[in-house]
Amino acid sequence: MTASQDPVISVESVSKWYGSVVAVNEVSFGIEPGVTGLLGPNGAGKTTLLKMIEGLAAPSDGAVTIFGETPRNNPDLFRRVGVMSEHEAVYGFQTGRQFVAWSAKLHGVTAIAEATARAIERVGLSDAQDRPLGTYSRGMRQRMRLAAAIVHEPEAIILDEPLNGTDPRQRIEFHDLMRQLADEGRTILISSHILEEVETLADRILLMVSGKLAASGDYRAIRAKLDEQPYNVRIVSSDPRRLAAALIELESIESVALGADNDVIVLSKNVAVLQRSLPRIAKDRGIRLERVEPLDESLESVFSYIVEG
């Protein structure tokens, strides 16, 4: 949707510090049309970075531009940009429709009723649009806030933790809507602290850890890098001893231990190999797998692999 070759959103050597605390440290990247996921554990600096991209906070150093313009104190830019913050508060006395129409009016939309109806339809809340927002569930509130953020058909959309409070069905619908918006040529930046929320949706991932950009690029490339890292997995099965004996034969397995609850704790050097081998080993030996769960799948540990790697 942009005429030039420059990234839609450009972040150049951006830092933000509060006193002696560095929240964002020398982060640079450019974002093109499509869906970009900004991932990182809680406290990684994602929200601070998004606030600077949205112009809500001034960078201590560096520069942010959207469509080549600084977003700070640049109200007119937000005719082309839609934002949904992490804060879930709404004006509880407004109905969903009033809230979205209010947003449309302030964005300078001319056909307010039509735009409002279209945005609410897109998030699937037409049936609830005349109820006060104060009576909505958390997931419904999130969806209506999303409708308010896209009611003016923005070319760039910035969403901070948009899936908080949504159920699995709503997440699927959200994914479909984001893909639809991306297919229309829009630039979408979504932040999340949950890898699974964004991995299947984003064309590109930005990983933030401790205020720094730890990795960026295609999700599969990052995932491959993750797969090469040692990984602790807990396996509950019908015959843990035989399973442990079989697993230790694998080259990618660094150690195997029997747990107290009749389970096997495996430290795998390559989780992808384990994923492929485990079902075959179990089938060949007639062992029933009851549960397979990663012990360190939190983003904190996953990201620490990347940072240390």
């Binding site: 606030k51 001034a58 104190n73 913050s85 804060h87 508060a89 004006y91 302030l106 964005h107």
Partner: protein
């Protein structure tokens, strides 16, 4: 701007806030009625009424507290609820946002404070000219306080608490006992405007007011400076 003004108006109409300011605004009238009911004679406009009801009760208490309660909430509520981003991430000039918020405060505070003074004064037989003067001076005082506390609401989440200390200590106590403070006091300006606009009607204030031109300059300066400060703050602050 109309959308932000209407939203702000609705935000200011919280049940408890409205109840408190209505009760405060009704106090002078209730007091006059009480004095009439329990007293042997009637209360006159001059002497004790101007000193007690208009000076101490209205300009020293009701006007600043009612205005502060509303103005501190104008941005304070948005900051507390973290909804301010809905306003600043719209293609709306910061000037329009501050103006809309201030206007919403004035639309509620002005009629209440003016009615509070005018109704009580009318009950004790004040002439139309006095009532008009009272309305004008109180309107100027409310506008000055509204800009001060609208800015304060953007500055700190404790604007109401700090504001109360300021009203009681600076405007209430110091401006009464230290004459120089009246040059830096909205209450001082309001009383001087009353006297300057109608020296005969408010002759009881002659001994304790600053010069009329100083009051006009002071009131205008407060309104302009604090409006600009609010605008500057909204432009430069990190929005939560």
């Amino acid at each position: 701007m109309a959308e932000i003004f209407l939203l702000s108006l609705r935000q200011l109409m919280g049940r408890w806030r409205v109840l408190v300011i209505l009760l405060l605004a009704a106090l002078p009238t209730l007091l006059v009625l009480l004095i009439r009911w329990i007293g042997e004679g009637d209360i006159a406009f001059h002497e004790e009424f101007v000193g007690l009801i208009i000076d101490v009760m209205i300009t020293g208490g009701i006007m600043p507290i009612v205005t502060m309660t509303l103005a501190a909430a104008a941005f304070g509520n948005e900051l507390e609820d973290k909804t301010l981003y809905y306003l600043v991430l719209k293609p709306v000039a910061r000037l329009s946002i501050v103006a809309a918020k201030l206007l919403a405060v004035l639309v509620v505070a002005l009629p209440l404070v003016v009615a509070s003074g005018v109704a009580a004064s009318a009950l004790v037989g004040a002439e139309a000219r006095i009532l008009g003067t009272l309305a004008l001076a109180l309107a100027a005082g409310v506008t000055a306080y509204a800009t001060i506390f609208t800015f304060a609401g953007l500055l700190t989440p404790r604007a109401l608490a700090y504001g109360l200390v300021y009203v009681l200590v600076w405007e209430g106590l110091l401006s009464t006992i230290v004459s120089g403070v009246r040059y830096l006091s909205v209450r001082g300006y309001t009383l001087a405007l009353l006297h300057g606009l109608d020296e005969t009607g408010f002759s009881d204030l002659a001994e304790r007011v600053i010069e009329f031109p100083a009051a006009i300059v002071g009131t205008s300066a407060v309104i302009v400076v604090f409006f600009l400060l609010a605008l500057y703050r909204l432009r430069t602050m990190d929005v939560p």
